[in-house]
């Protein structure tokens, strides 16, 4: 089985509720994480995201200034100077189907409904570390592949044929930051 060296991971936690941040910090530290940065709103989280370059973002949905969905959309800018690929785990009291779809379409990687559990959080972190999904870029979406499963019963047109992939070098974040514009 796989384990995770949490002490090598850097987390950014964004929640406007101080009690929930304390719970998240406690859980992550007890998993073994050392670097846990905290923000209480989306705008601060975005600044910290650029500054600390976290490996994994855990964010609430409902927050003042701008919310977790807007934060995800800002991170998932394919041409931004920052890293647009970081896994985003949305931890929220919203659990309706419509909300899950909105989060998915904003580029959220994993969805975890409150009330939080140690098992649920660990499982989502394990998923993003062990089984990262490819990213999809369309005219109006950039984020993890929204297809999680192969549906053998699917009978519509297949938009993804087989061909050799192009390989492009990815500039380092430092190079991106130094480049003008």
């Amino acid at each position: 089985m796989y384990g995770i060296d949490f002490n090598k991971l850097r987390f950014l936690v964004c929640d406007d509720n101080a009690h929930m941040r304390r719970i998240l910090r406690t859980l992550l530290h007890s998993f073994g994480a050392r670097e846990v940065y905290e923000a209480e709103d989306g705008a601060t989280a975005l600044e910290m995201y650029s500054h600390y370059v976290p490996d994994i973002v855990i964010t609430d949905w409902a927050m003042p200034i701008f919310d977790g969905i807007e934060l995800a959309q800002m991170i998932r800018q394919p041409d931004s100077k920052g890293n647009p690929f970081a896994p985003i785990i949305m931890l929220t009291g919203h659990s309706e189907k419509r909300r899950v779809t909105v989060a998915r379409d904003a580029g959220v990687t994993e969805f975890l409904a409150k009330p939080i559990s140690a098992k649920g959080l660990y499982q989502r972190i394990l998923n993003v570390v062990v089984s990262p999904r490819p990213f999809i870029k369309t005219k109006n979406y950039f984020g993890p592949d929204r297809r999680r499963n192969t549906n053998n019963a699917y009978i519509g047109p297949e938009r993804r044929g087989t061909k050799e992939p192009d390989v492009i070098p990815q500039p380092s974040l430092l190079d991106k930051a130094r480049s003008p514009g």
């Binding site: 995770i4 406007d16 189907k97 409904a113 409150k114 870029k137 380092s172």
Partner: protein, 192 residues
């Protein structure tokens, strides 16, 4: 970990989209572990969470005070957008946190209040008593939490409140099918 050089991307191009794959940037933190000698991080985290539990009653009281303050602002100034948002966020936080703090029925009552705020077509026309009863119920459930036999009372209180709220929402949304669908649909998120 975060300072490592990013790996090369592979891009497959199709008619209307690209599929971008990169070697797993977090692979360095993965390790194969022997199940026999594996110290379960989930058990360790649950123990740490239990260590916080002495503070949960105080935290819950703070959340209830915030809800009451938001309601008091509305009674004084009406449903301004800021006041509505604060009432929703206060209820929404209780909905999300209360079960973790050991007050699941307070969370359930808060969820009912969130649904009213979210799905009522005109928040100013929601009967004031419906909102007040929810807030009073949440406070009572938290205050009387340890009382003998109160759980049965709290369950019944929540059942009745939820019934009245759902009936109200169904009537006022009869011409808004997208809201009716959301009101009547069960949650799709699996419970861990």
């Amino acid at each position: 970990m975060a300072k490592d050089k990013p790996p090369e991307l592979k891009v497959e191009t199709f008619a209307d989209h690209h599929v971008i794959t990169q070697p797993n940037p977090l692979r360095k933190v993965m390790r194969l572990v022997d199940e026999k000698n594996f110290e379960d991080p989930v058990a360790r985290a649950e123990k740490a969470l239990a260590g916080l539990s002495d503070e949960f009653a105080t935290w819950m009281a703070i959340e209830c005070d915030r809800l009451a303050a938001a309601h008091a602002t509305i009674l004084k100034d009406g449903f301004t957008p800021a006041a509505r948002d604060e009432l929703f966020r206060a209820a929404h936080d209780i909905k999300g946190d209360a079960a973790t703090f050991g007050y699941p029925l307070a969370g359930a009552a808060a969820e009912s209040l969130c649904r009213i705020i979210e799905h009522a077509p005109d928040i100013d026309r929601v009967p004031a008593a419906l909102i007040a009863h929810h807030i009073n119920a949440i406070q009572a459930i938290v205050r009387e939490h340890a009382g003998l036999g109160f759980e049965a009372v709290a369950k019944e209180l929540h059942r009745k409140l939820r019934g009245v709220a759902d009936e109200y929402l169904t009537v006022v949304n009869r011409d808004r099918p997208e809201h009716l669908d959301a009101i009547l649909a069960p949650s799709i998120v699996p419970v861990d």
